[in-house]
């Protein structure tokens, strides 16, 4: 991923509407993001675009993750 693309993604992760996401996503970027394949990184970019409540409910397990592309990333987000 190009530097500018990563930094844009980073800004969109560290400045969310919900504190829960600020913390979870910042941690994920620092600890797990690099371990993703290029394809998974693009899936995460897509996930970071989700509405805050939808994404948080997915991470906190209040909503089931039905998209198989998201599932491994959600698992990492929950762990980190």
């Amino acid at each position: 991923m190009e530097r500018a693309d990563y930094e844009r993604l980073r800004w969109r992760c560290i400045r969310r509407a919900l504190l829960e996401l600020d913390i979870s996503l910042t941690r994920f970027l620092d600890e797990d993001f690099e371990s993703l394949s290029e394809e998974q990184k693009q899936v995460f970019v897509e996930m970071a675009d989700m509405e805050d409540h939808d994404l948080w409910y997915l991470i906190s397990g209040q909503e089931e993750c039905t998209d198989p592309r998201y599932a491994p990333i959600v698992a990492l987000l929950r762990k980190s």
Partner: protein, 594 residues
């Protein structure tokens, strides 16, 4: 250096509830309106507001704006201005109905009216019994509100500048506000927005505290810009705290956890609330619980290596009850405390939640400042609304669901006032030659400084100082030493160094610029809190206790007045509280008890 100049009738800084609401007024009046936001509008912190918006619609039972006014004055511990409060509660119904017409999906009653639910502090018949006054859209009220208003703005041709950070207010030699400088994050380009009206709707600054429920975005940018432009900040000692935020993270643990039987314990596993509130115990009011927690920590009975938190224990509850009645709580414990609350108690601390003070405004949304003996001299061309502004309707303590009402009413009011002033035909005033100089110099200093302070470490030093010296329960000696400490941190904050010098998407630079705003708010808070020697609302001092002469530690003879912190020389002055409502008799002073 030549800086691009974009000319608009109005610029609004911030695209949360207040910013979007004021933009609607301006754009629908046919004025060329720009809205600047650090993030996409529907990612503003208004999204986190769940409780609802207060309005005395009376859909579920009899209600009246006068009762709502009484509750708000009482909630404010009589520090709220009664003209502004009457204005707000009387506009509430109109603003809620308008919002519904914009497409806001309010919850409904069976007969199709807006459903209303009760909320703490909202009563009928001047404090008699709880009343259903809060209008909500499931648990997404703030979010739905932003969507409805964003769509309305798109229709009205408001121009959004998304992922832009405003840097400084531009004022001319006569004090008129002529717009702002701002930076586009994607390119690092600095631009002047040259306007006839400038509205700040930048939200709160809860990130000055170590433990805060506020999202990272709440860095007090509007307050920082106002302070750098010599505008005083009002009542900054008043911050609302929530008793149970996850220690170290700030994420809110809902009161429902104690409602379901959660017990607070100290390091000795003692249920300490039994000593502080023998009847209500863990279900005592927020301020009582917060104060008890702070006392336990201060007296050495806190938990962990640093003895700086207490425990919220629900291990005695049936796991099925936890999963069913408290959805998301287990995950919050796992994610943010590394604790499975079914097996272990959660570490919690009183956590900053809402800023009552801010940029001083009249209820028309116009920013006011003291000048030649007049406390309320209008700053021409400058308006503010929402959490960054102090109208003052929340006074010393805000009632739940009045914050969403504040941003609707005063967002609209600021927009209307700007329209009125602009229709009076004022042309763009000439920009001073050095309009962008201060902003450019700040950025150049960040880019060139070597051996300066680290942004992360400086922010942490500020947050710890604020938490330890000006937290939910305050002590005279700690406030005094806190002033010295925060002035030390300020020195570091004026000498920040960043390693990344890139132009595009330089988040290190943006965070450094945010830090320069945060420190202005932190300093104003500490100095204002040290100066106010009484207890009132959310400002509770150990050396101003509850006595027969001063119930709750409140001293109206000396302290029934607004604080004005002057950022130019860190001095404090005061201005009277407006006790005269617009049309009704004043709500007379009395002890605030529930």
């Amino acid at each position: 250096m030549s800086i691009p100049v974009l000319k608009f009738d109005a610029v609004i800084v911030g695209a949360g509830g207040a910013g979007l609401r004021s933009a609607i007024q301006l754009s629908e009046a046919g004025l060329k309106t720009a809205v600047l936001s650090k993030v996409f509008p529907t990612r503003s912190h208004t999204v986190a507001a769940q409780g609802g918006v207060a309005a005395s619609l009376g859909n579920s039972e009899e209600d009246h704006w006068h009762w709502h006014m009484y509750d708000t004055v009482k909630g404010s511990d009589w520090l709220g201005d009664q003209d502004a409060i009457e204005f707000m509660v009387r506009k509430a119904n109109e603003c809620v109905v308008e919002l519904e017409h914009y497409g806001m999906p309010f919850d409904r009653t069976d007969n199709g009216k807006i459903y209303q639910r009760p909320f703490g502090g909202h009563m009928s018949n001047f404090g008699e019994k709880p009343v259903r006054r809060s209008c909500a859209a499931a648990d997404r009220t703030g979010h739905a509100m932003l969507h409805a208003m964003y769509q309305r703005n798109v229709k009205a041709n408001t121009q959004f500048f998304v992922e832009w950070m405003a840097l400084d207010l531009i004022r001319d030699s006569e004090g008129h506000v002529l717009g702002v400088t701002a930076m586009e994050m994607e390119t690092g380009q600095v631009v002047i927005f040259h306007t006839r009206a400038t509205i700040f709707a930048t939200g709160g600054a809860g990130r000055i505290f170590y433990s805060s429920t506020n999202a990272f975005i709440n860095t007090g940018d509007g307050l920082g810009m106002a302070a750098r432009a010599g505008i005083p900040l009002e009542d900054m000692e008043f911050w609302q705290f929530h008793p149970t935020g996850v220690a170290g993270a700030g994420v809110l643990i809902t009161e429902g956890v104690r409602g379901e039987g959660g017990i607070l314990r100290n390091a000795n596993k003692e249920r300490f609330m039994e000593r502080y509130a023998p009847n209500a115990k863990d279900l005592a009011s927020r301020d009582v619980v917060s104060r008890a927690m702070t006392t336990e920590i201060n007296e050495g009975r806190g938990c962990g290596v640093n003895k700086d938190y207490v425990l919220l224990d629900i291990t005695h509850l049936d796991p099925n009850t936890i999963m069913k009645r408290l959805p998301g709580i287990r995950e919050i414990g796992l994610q943010f405390a590394g604790v499975d609350c079914i097996k272990e108690p959660l570490p919690v601390v009183p956590t900053c939640h809402y800023q009552m003070g801010g940029i001083p405004t009249h209820y028309s949304g116009r920013v006011v400042t003291p000048q030649n003996g007049d406390y309320n001299t209008i700053v021409p061309g400058f308006y503010a609304a929402g959490e960054c502004a102090c109208a003052s309707v929340h006074g010393a303590n805000r009632l739940g669901t009045n914050s969403l009402l504040d941003l609707l009413v005063f967002g609209k009011s600021a927009g209307d006032s700007a329209v009125e002033d602009l229709k009076a035909g004022k042309a763009h005033r000439e920009l001073p030659k050095d309009a962008a100089e201060k902003s450019l110099a700040r950025i150049a200093a960040l880019d060139s400084r070597k051996g300066g302070a680290n942004v992360h470490e400086t922010r942490l030093a500020m947050q710890r100082t604020m938490q330890n010296h000006a937290g939910v329960f305050r002590f005279g000696d700690l406030l005094k030493s806190g002033v010295e400490k925060i002035l030390e941190v300020e020195k570091a904050a004026r000498e920040l160094e960043i390693k990344d010098k890139s132009m595009a998407w330089n988040t290190a630079r943006t965070e450094a610029l945010e830090m320069e705003n945060l420190i202005e708010v932190a300093k104003a808070t500490m100095i204002s809190a040290e100066a106010r020697k009484e207890s009132r609302g959310a400002h509770v001092r150990d050396d101003a206790p509850d006595t027969p002469e001063f119930p709750n530690g409140r001293n109206d003879a000396e302290w029934l007045k607004h604080t004005l912190f002057n950022p130019v020389d860190n001095s404090i002055s005061y201005k009277p509280v407006n006790m005269q409502p617009l049309t009704v008799e004043p709500i007379a002073l009395k002890t605030r008890s529930y």
